[in-house]
Amino acid sequence: MSANEPYDAIVVGSGAGGGIATWRLAQAGLRVALVEAGPWYDPADDSQRTQFRYPWESPRRGASTRLRPFGDFNACIGGWELDGEPFTTAEGTDFMWWRARMLGGRTNHWGRISLRFGPLDFRRRDIDGLGDNWPIGYEDVKPYYDKVDKLVGVFGTNEGLPNDPDGFFLPPPKPRLHELYYIRGARRAGVPVYPARKSILTKRINNDRGVCVYCRQCDRACSLHADFSSSTVLIYPAVASGRVDVYTNTMVRKVDTGPDGSATGVSCIDRGSRQELRISGRSVVLAASACSSARILLNSISATHSAGLGNSSGHVGRYLHDSTGASRAAFLPELMDRDIYNEDGVGGMHVYTPWWLEDANLDFARGYHLEIGGGMGMPSYGFGFAANQYKEFLGERVGGYGNGLRDDVRRFYGSRLSIACRGESVPQYGNYCELDPDVVDEWGIPVLRFDYRWTEQEINQARHMQDTMEELLEASGGILLGGKPGPERQYGLTQPGEIIHEVGTTRMGDDPATSVTNRFGQLHDAGNVFVADAGTFVSQADKNPTWTIMALAWRSSDYIIDQMRQRNL
């Protein structure tokens, strides 16, 4: 098509939200431009594949680098730092910002933990008086969770839990040995434990995608397309429809608006040629990740939108929040001298503990869930460090050299059990990102400056996490490793941003004075601009955000389709 003919929709960003929007809008017959700052990516392409590689295929054996912070074989192009694209922080803020720059965004290497929010999660203010309720409830989102389950595939079990809803699940894999120890420990401690919920195909869902062959490497992205990545599951089929043009390596700087204040397209820069490019469209769907979408809006200044597009309320960038996190590990003597067999399983955990103290009287609001780790993983850089440190617990001498070390390595292989907690924070108006007037990136776009501090709620929650983890690890037969972090280290609470669940920067609401979008992710200030990432979250629940991003992106897409049919867009 001619470059001047407007697309029906321009989708910015190809991660979880952008993938669903692109797929759904194209399926409904719309012509879509998908604009992605990173390169094309396919884990099945041998020149990009890192799955099923042995550590010695890398000269650094899978060690992390600045370019691959989660290890040499991880499927992320991008990370905590991007060359030429800095961000800044206000004094007293230690915000960490993870950015993937590739087709599929962070969904190529995410943990695939796929949790629905529950009914209580949409109306937390009613329960604890903090923050705000969502303008919508579980019943509004449920049909879309259902659709996402069926389209994408997720394993799990229907447990009838009040705030961890059932779904259309594939059957889960059986627990591994260390997970059986955890289950036993949790039963002893009176803490519930269930099969994990992950978007990994333990069973075929169509003839295009493969079925999991249990390599434990989802973080490397699956060359069989048996786990969910936006690229493999949504974008390839959308492109195959013939109705989608993908602009890779194309960085959107702003949304262009016309005299009436509505969007006419986006202005971009081609990262390879550094050429400026304008793409016109009848609607724009921002899904560049919550902070990046906020940045684009704030940079879209015009006569009508003098504070940035969608920002008449001054709320763009506000209420930024991340999950809380803390972790602990233990040595399980009963797992010494293990029989060695292939227990790779799926990437990550097979069992987890959802929040179980909803009705308890605690000194913090909201809850957290527990993610379980351990097992006989594939050695990579770091394996064998402090190889025989657990001898200390056996009254034996640590250290030494010679062939005896081989026995130590085998003896302690797979004898570690770990827990990571992920919790809900209380969104704050005072935690935000904004444009830094003093700094631009190499494309000339003002960068984000973050100002974010935890409150007592999160710090108290982290203390509770530490107590819980100690109790459960010990109940599982573990000897605790490392010290227990106290108040001086905020009880091991992770830094804001570190859990990589950025949400809330363009929150939805019925009141245009205190929210950026309406219930459908549509800007109050410009009817043909939508947000389809976690920016619209009013609060984030103690669940990982992605399944909700996708359900809401689908819901927004249906709304766009409907509004176009009615000629309102």
Partner: protein, 236 residues
């Protein structure tokens, strides 16, 4: 690299610290250290920026020949080759250590300084640098610095360094084919996980809870396309 033992060998002479390479030509036969040479070309899904970075690292020379020899001798003591699964030198440890130290800025100083500490200690104790004292003397030094519980303040830098070299040696070894064999690692292959083997469960006195097991995937039906009834029950 899962090469046969020492397929391609790198070898360096054990030369006295003070003497130049020419002087060391007179070294007695047998006073050589040999190791399997690791490849310098890799292909594992890199971006152009990463390929460039790896090329630069391979082109950079950081260690002197003396340092590299010292690393080789130490790695060999930590994980000797008199074993059916080979040792550090068979697994090309000096090449690995050289690469990883160049790659990880934080390792550069501890390794360089550690080697210098080791030489000064060997000279003080036995009159020559570490690689030029005899085997028994080398082991005597290792016996002093291989155990972190030793409290002698003089030895602390050596203990730190030895622990670091033990870490690097074991990690470098267990991330090779030899190391995988030594460990018995079975994974990184396509397979169908169907739970902990029964005999392992028995040995640990554990069982799957029947209700839990009933919810798990029936692997004989994994290839049948999933379908559900309206009540969210899987029907296929």
């Amino acid at each position: 690299m899962d090469t046969k033992r020492r397929e391609t060998l790198k070898s360096l002479l054990l030369a006295p610290l003070a003497a130049g390479a020419a002087a060391s030509a007179g070294c007695a036969a047998g006073r050589q250290v040999n190791w399997t040479e690791l490849p310098r070309e890799y292909s594992y899904g890199r971006t152009e920026a990463e390929r460039q970075r790896d090329r630069e690292l391979f082109a950079e020379s950081w260690f002197s020949e003396h340092e590299l020899v010292t690393i080789a001798v130490l790695c060999d003591i930590i994980l000797p080759s008199d074993h059916p699964n080979g040792g550090a030198l068979d697994a090309g440890l000096p090449d690995f250590v050289e690469f990883i130290v160049k790659d990880r800025e934080t390792l550069k100083l501890p390794v360089r300084g550690g080697i210098a500490w080791l030489d000064s200690y060997a000279i003080a104790e036995f009159g020559a640098d570490f690689v030029n004292i005899d085997e028994a003397q080398r082991l005597a030094i290792c016996d002093c610095i291989a155990w972190p519980d030793v409290e002698d303040p003089v030895l602390q830098p050596g203990i730190r360094f030895f622990s670091l070299m033990r870490d690097l040696t074991l990690t470098g070894y267990y991330t090779t084919g030899q190391g995988f064999r030594d460990l018995g690692y079975q994974g990184n292959v396509a397979n169908v996980w169907d739970g902990v083997p029964a005999e392992v469960l028995a040995r640990h006195g554990l069982q799957y809870e029947p209700e839990w097991l009933a919810k798990c995937v029936d692997q004989s039906r994994r290839d049948i396309i999933a379908s559900w009834d309206d009540d969210m029950n899987l029907t296929s």
